[in-house]
Symmetry: C2
Subunit: 133 residues, 2 copies
């Protein structure tokens, strides 16, 4: 069994990507969703730290490389179709969203509107030292 | 405020779709991931029952229309980028996966392999009466 076998079982899309969902390992809350290519999934499994592929910047993205908010991966799962990954993670700093919130899913549908329910924990300016992404 | 406003805040991809994640409302477990188009999201919000767009069959898909395993939606959230939806659901029959398992994520990465951890609850043949999808 070579290391590449399990990577071949993943059904990469036409851009070579899969959807990757990061959940809080304790609460199960979905913190963020991004994409992985083969290299980032391989690195995630090898290091236990979440790596993605950023479509906007078109490069490998070690989550937290700027903010320090690394994601420690406790478990990786693949779905029946092989095109979605779930990760149970420990979110360093308790902030996964670039807006400074715990989760990217801070808007709930209520009365025909997306209503913001979650407070900003830390000002993004303070997180990224003036950088944004 | 017209009903379409909140739908316009969703960032539909080039195929007019968003990723939709169904989580068990009690445990937080991710049960399945599929896609929604504008019509399916609107129907989901209006009826409280999850509707998707099936890419393989290219049509509106009311989850459970064949199996009876409807998904009752307790909460809908949108992420910061507007291109992913999470749903907290009650899964009728306790089976979300077409393989007859609770969740589509029944394989865990261990020792360099995807290992099946979850048992089949009900034979898919019995669920779909000979149909498959």
């Amino acid at each position: 069994m070579t290391e590449s076998n399990w990577l071949d079982e993943v059904k990469w899309d036409e851009k070579g990507l899969v959807v990757a969902i990061a959940q809080d390992a304790v609460t199960g809350r979905v913190l963020m969703v991004a994409y992985m290519n083969r290299e980032s999934l391989q690195l995630t499994a090898a290091t236990g730290i979440a790596h993605y592929w950023t479509r906007s910047r078109q490069k490998l993205w070690k989550k937290g490389e700027e903010s320090g908010h690394l994601q420690l991966v406790k478990e990786l799962r693949l779905d029946c179709d092989g095109d979605v990954i779930t990760m149970q993670i420990e979110q360093t700093g308790g902030i996964a969203c670039h807006t400074g919130r715990e989760s990217c899913f801070y808007r709930v549908w209520r009365d025909g509107q997306w209503q913001v329910t979650d407070a900003v924990i830390k000002d993004p300016q303070a997180i990224y030292h003036g950088h944004s992404h």
